[in-house]
């Protein structure tokens, strides 16, 4: 009997719209994100390439806050018991995908900087060799000879391997 009541309760979840205070908070949050993102783009600290995601986030927040029925409809659709858990679920999913996307970008950047370092190292050696061979010329600004002591790298906190 108890189990049946529970089952019925699960099938017909009590979905209440967001109270007014939560609605107000959502609008404040959305506006803050929007202003912050636009300001960061203005100061050239955030690339447009990344900014659109955050602009989209604030717009979605606006939509949820403006129309109370949106969150209720989504909750029905995915079968969540309350609007709050729908919000949490959406937020966690979004952050997870975002983190994955950043990992992919980081892998690409690491790979690119590695290739650049390798090509630069090969070029530097080639340049040293050519400069050592070339007859002295007044037009060529002499570079620091390869035998000179280079400024030592700052000590690393963590040892990498050779």
């Amino acid at each position: 009997m108890n189990a049946l009541a529970l089952l019925l309760a699960l099938q017909q979840p009590q979905l209440t719209p967001l109270p007014g205070r939560q609605q107000f908070l959502a609008i404040v949050l959305a506006s803050t994100i929007l202003v912050l993102v636009l300001e960061l783009v203005r100061r050239r600290k955030l690339r447009e390439e990344y900014a659109w995601v955050w602009i989209a986030v604030s717009l979605v927040l606006f939509a949820i806050a403006a129309d109370e029925d949106v969150i209720v409809a989504i909750s029905r659709l995915i079968g969540s018991a309350t609007g709050t858990s729908t919000l949490f679920f959406g937020a966690i999913l979004f952050l997870l995908l975002l983190a994955l996307q950043f990992s992919v970008r980081l892998s690409r950047l690491t790979h690119r900087s590695r290739t650049l370092a390798q090509r630069m190292a090969l070029l530097e050696q080639e340049l040293d060799r050519l400069r050592a061979q070339a007859p002295p010329s007044s037009e060529v600004v002499p570079m620091r000879p390869p035998t000179a002591v280079a400024a030592p790298n700052p000590p690393r906190a963590k040892d990498g391997s050779a």
Partner: protein, 274 residues
């Protein structure tokens, strides 16, 4: 087989290094050198000041050109290597053992070397064994692997490391169809065909071991193990220490699992024809 390779060697550009640096310590041509194509010894080095010089001199005494890839060492590794008669390519920061080798492979290709012999900078590998690797390549192998376990004179290591070596030796043997006893050996020789197969960007950054052996064998190259003498490392940092062994096992298993289905990587270090 060998004839074709030597014809290839004659057609390619000659290395720029030999002759450019007259060196009194360099002996009169060592006999086997007349029989092999232009060969470069690659020595990846990170924080090997005090050790790398002797290694370079020993390799030079074998009559070979030596390239030291200084992997962003904060010490005098690069200077010592250059003073000992090596060409030095210097990474601006530490990129990893595999990347240092990878840079060396590209140097070899850019400068017209056909074969590459690679050895560690810490004195573990005996330069007197270099001709053995070259001999294996001459005999038709594409990848000659110097194994410390074939003649029973391997320097002692920890119990855990021995176990891991045994497991990966088994995997390498199964994966390559060739008996492999020392899959983590960095003491190797590469033919021109093997060299062309390791210059892609997918070459592992930290531990190029079992996965590379299996990859090369899958692309139809002939592997052969050669017994070599190895010494205890003369100080410095081992790559296999502490938690790194666990990471090594994870990384190797993931790589091996994905090996058959992985996309091939491009080669962005090589210059494209303009």
């Amino acid at each position: 087989m060998a004839g074709g390779r030597f014809a290839l060697a004659a057609a390619g550009p000659r290395p720029l290094m030999s002759g450019a640096q007259p060196d009194a310590r360099r002996p009169a041509r060592v006999a086997y050198l007349a029989l092999i194509p232009p060969t470069l010894v690659i020595v990846p080095a990170y924080r090997e000041a005090g050790r790398v010089g002797a290694v370079v001199r020993a390799a030079r005494a074998q009559g070979l050109d030596v390239l030291v890839v200084d992997d962003g060492s904060p010490d005098t590794t690069g200077m010592e290597a250059r003073a000992a008669g090596a060409v030095v390519v210097q990474h601006p920061f530490n990129l990893g053992y595999g990347v240092a080798l990878h840079t060396g492979y590209h140097y070899a290709r850019r400068h017209g070397y056909e074969w590459v012999l690679q050895m560690d900078a810490d004195g573990q590998h005996d330069a007197a064994m270099l001709p053995r690797l070259a001999a294996a390549l001459s005999a038709g192998a594409d990848l000659a692997i110097g194994s410390r376990y074939l003649d029973g004179s391997a320097p002692p290591t920890s119990w855990l490391r021995r176990c891991a070596t045994r497991v990966f030796a088994r995997i390498a043997t199964l994966g390559t169809g060739t008996a492999i006893s020392d899959p983590t050996s960095g003491f190797q020789g590469l033919s021109a065909r093997a060299l062309a197969a390791v210059t892609h960007d997918g070459y592992p950054e930290d531990f190029p071991d079992t996965d590379v052996l299996i990859e090369l064998s899958r692309s139809g190259l002939a592997l052969r193990e050669v017994p070599v003498r190895m010494h205890q490392r003369q100080g410095g940092l081992s790559m296999h220490r502490g938690a790194r062994l666990a990471y090594y096992a994870y990384k190797m298993l993931l790589t091996l699992l994905l090996l058959p289905v992985r996309r091939s990587a491009p080669d962005t270090v090589a210059r494209r024809p303009a």
